[in-house]
Amino acid sequence: MEAVTLTRKPRSPLRLALRRLKRHKTAMAGLVVLVVLYVAALFADFIAPYSYDREMRKNSYAPPSKLHFVDADGRFHLRPFVYRVSFAFDEFQNRVYTEDRTQRYPIRFFARGDKHKLLWVFPTDRHLFGVEEPARLYLMGADSRGRDLFSRILYGGRISLSVGLVGVAVSFVLGLTVGGIAGYFGGWVDGALMRMCEMIMIIPGFYLMLALRAAFPPTLPSTSVYVMIVLIMSFIGWAGLARVVRGMVLSIASKDYVTAAKAVGGKDIIIIFRHVLPNTLSYVIVSLTLSIPGYILGESALSLLGLGIQDPQASWGNLLSDAMHVEDIHFHPWMLIPGAFIFVAVMAFNFLGDGLRDAFDPRMEVGKG
C-alpha cells in the first residue's frame, strides 16, 4: 500500500495505478516487447529488406543467410557481408545450399530496394538495410517461393497484431453496451440479452468459430477476409464481457448517486454511459488486455487452417501453415519462426494484463461509486 502524505496533492486512482504499473517489472517488459512489435509492424515496409510478395523461385527454402566478417582470403571486414547462395539436389532429392565465395555482398544501411509507401503516404525505395542484387539477405530464411521470411513476418505482424486491437474494440463496444443496458434496465430486457449471451457461450469457441466461418464463401478478397475474421472473433468475444459488465452494472445501478441522477431527470442512456459504465473501467482495461491474445490466436488458427488470410498476403498464422507438413519441417525448421512471434506477442500481452490487474486491483476498485 502507498503511504499518501497530506502535503502532496491527492492523486487520481488512475495515476496511482500507473505508478504501481511502472514498478511491475514483468508488465513493463511486456509493454516494451509490444511497443517494439507494433512499431516494427507499423514500419514493416521500411524495416523489411524486401516486399512481402518479392519472389525468387531459385531460392526456394534457402536457409537463413550467414553473416560473415572474414572473407575467403582471411581478411576481416567491419561491415558484415553475405554471399550469394545456390542449391543442388543431393542423392535424396533434398536441396543443399552452397555459398559462392568469389563476390562479397556487404550489408548496406538505407539501401535501395522495392518501392513502397512509408506509413502508406511517403513513396520511397529506401529500406533500413539490404544487400545488392543478385544476392539475397534472408535473416530468417526463405519460404517455398524464395520470399524473405523476415520481411513476411513483419508484414504479417500488421494483420496479426491489428486484428487483436480492432477485434477487441468491436467486441468491447458491443459487450459494454449490451451489458450496460441489461444491468441497468433489468427485467425482460436483461433476461433476453443474457439468454443471447448464454446461447453464444454454450458452444465451444473453436467449433463456433469454424461454424461461423462456414457462413462465408470459401474464398474472399483479402480485405473482406480481414473484416470477416474481426466479425467472427468479436461475435464470439462480446458475450463473456457483457455478462460480467451486466453484473457490475447491476450493483452500481442500485447506488444512491444513480438514484440521484435519475431523480434530477437524467436520461437513461446518459446515466449508463456517463455515470455507470466508467466505474467498470478498471475491470474493462484489464480484461481488454488479457483478451487480445485470444483474437491473435483466433486469427492465427483460422489462417493456419487456410480459412483466413490467403497467400500472397502474410499473417503469422498463414506463414506457419507452411510448417504444417510435419514430414518436411526438419528440412526447413525456420518456417516455425512465425509461431515464436505469436508466442512472444501473446506472452507480452499476458504479462502486461497481469501487471495491470495487480496495479488496478479490481477487487478494490469495482463499484466504489
Binding site: 454454450i202 458452444i203 465451444p204 467449433y207 462456414a214 488458427a301 516455425l336 501473446v346 499476458n350
Partner: protein, 321 residues
C-alpha cells in the same frame, strides 16, 4: 440434487435449440450448395440429386428444414454427410470416442503433474523450484497449442522415436491386441503433452494458491503446535482442504479442453471431433457441421454441470437447490 440437475438441463435445452437454429440459418445464408461436388460427378444424374434433395427435404425453406433436422436429431439421427457419403451419427460416434480418449489422457497427465507441483510450490514458496514452476506456467499459458504441437512434432521428426501425428501406424491392423494399444499410446503422447502443458499451468497455480491459503489457517498452526510431524500436517490436514475446490475445476477443464483440443487434433492429425469439424466446414457439409456443433455444445454443458455437481458432492457447505 436430482431436481437441480434436471432443472439445469431444462434451462440448457432452449439455449441449445436457439443456438442450433441460429447456426442453421447462418450456414444456410452462406450459400448451401451441398451438391456442388455431386453435380460435377458425371456418374450421378441430375434426377438422382433431385431425389436426394427431396429425400432430405432440401427443397423446402430453411426454417422447415431446421425442424425436419430437429425431428431426426430427437431420434438420434443427425442426418447424412454428403461429402463423406455416410451417416453423421456414425461419423460422430467414431470421432467422439477418439476425442474423449485424448481428453481423458490429457486430464490424467495434467492432474498427475500439476497437483504435486502445486503442493511443492506452496510448501517451498519463493524457492528456485517455485520460481521456475511459475515461469514455466507463464510459458504454458502463453504458448499457442498449435505452435507447441508443431514444435514437438519437429522434435519428434529430428529424434525419430515418436510417430509424426495420426492415431494409428500403417501396420496397425497387423499388430497383436497389446501391440495395438501400445501403438495408439505412442500416437497419444504428443497431443496429450500439448494439451496438458496448457492446462497444467493454470491448475498448478490454482493448487498452489489454495494450498497457501489453507496453510495460513489456524487449524494448521494448531496441528503444528501440538507437535504433529510436518508431513502429516501438510499431506493430511492441509491437502484435503486444499484439493476440495479443485474438484470443480475438473468438470470445467473437461469442457474447456474441447476447444483447445480441436486445434491440437488438427495439427497432430488426430481423428477427433475437432478435425471432423474442420473437414465438415471445408466441405460445406451442413449436417456434419450442425451435428458437430450440437455435440460440442452438449459436451460443454455436461462438463459445466459435472463441475457444479462434483463441488456440491465434495463440499457439504454447498447445497444445490
Amino acid at each position: 440434487m436430482t431436481s437441480y440437475i434436471i432443472r439445469r438441463l431444462l434451462i440448457a435445452v432452449p439455449l441449445l435449440l436457439g443456438m442450433t437454429f441460429l447456426a442453421f440459418m447462418v450456414i444456410q445464408l452462406g450459400g448451401g450448395e451441398y451438391f456442388a461436388e455431386l453435380r460435377l460427378n458425371p456418374q450421378i444424374s441430375p434426377e438422382t440429386i433431385e431425389q436426394i434433395e427431396k429425400q432430405f427435404n432440401l427443397d423446402k425453406p430453411a426454417v422447415i428444414q431446421y425442424f425436419y433436422w430437429l425431428k431426426n436429431v430427437l431420434k438420434l439421427d443427425f442426418g447424412y454427410s454428403f461429402s463423406r457419403m455416410a451417416s453423421v451419427t456414425g461419423l460422430i460416434r467414431d470421432r467422439l470416442l477418439n476425442t474423449l480418449l485424448l481428453s481423458v489422457s490429457s486430464i490424467f497427465v495434467t492432474w498427475l503433474v500439476a497437483i504435486p507441483l502445486g503442493i511443492y510450490c506452496a510448501v517451498h514458496r519463493y524457492s528456485w523450484g517455485d520460481r521456475f514452476a511459475s515461469f514455466f506456467a507463464y510459458i504454458g499459458i502463453s504458448i499457442p497449442n498449435f505452435f507447441l504441437a508443431l514444435l514437438l512434432l519437429y522434435l519428434a521428426s529430428v529424434v525419430g522415436i515418436l510417430p509424426l501425428g495420426d492415431m494409428r501406424s500403417a501396420n496397425f491392423y497387423e499388430l497383436s491386441a497389446l501391440g495395438k494399444v501400445a501403438d495408439i499410446g505412442k500416437h497419444l503422447i504428443i497431443p496429450t503433452l500439448v494439451i496438458a502443458t496448457a492446462a497444467m499451468a493454470g491448475l498448478q497455480r490454482l493448487m498452489r494458491g489454495n494450498m497457501l491459503e489453507v496453510l495460513r489457517a489456524q487449524y494448521i498452526t494448531t496441528a503444528r503446535a501440538k507437535g504433529l510431524p510436518e508431513n502429516r500436517v501438510i499431506y493430511v490436514h492441509a491437502l484435503r482442504n486444499a484439493i476440495n475446490p479443485m474438484i470443480s475445476i475438473f468438470g470445467l477443464q473437461f469442457s474447456s479442453l474441447l476447444g483447445g483440443a480441436a486445434l491440437t487434433e488438427i495439427v497432430c492429425n488426430w481423428p477427433g471431433l475437432g478435425s471432423l469439424m474442420l473437414e465438415a466446414v471445408r466441405a460445406r457439409d451442413l449436417y456434419l457441421v450442425m451435428g458437430d456443433l450440437l455435440i460440442g455444445g452438449v459436451l460443454l454443458i455436461a462438463g459445466n454441470l459435472l463441475a457444479d455437481v462434483l463441488l456440491a458432492w465434495t463440499d457439504p457447505r454447498i447445497r444445490l437447490r
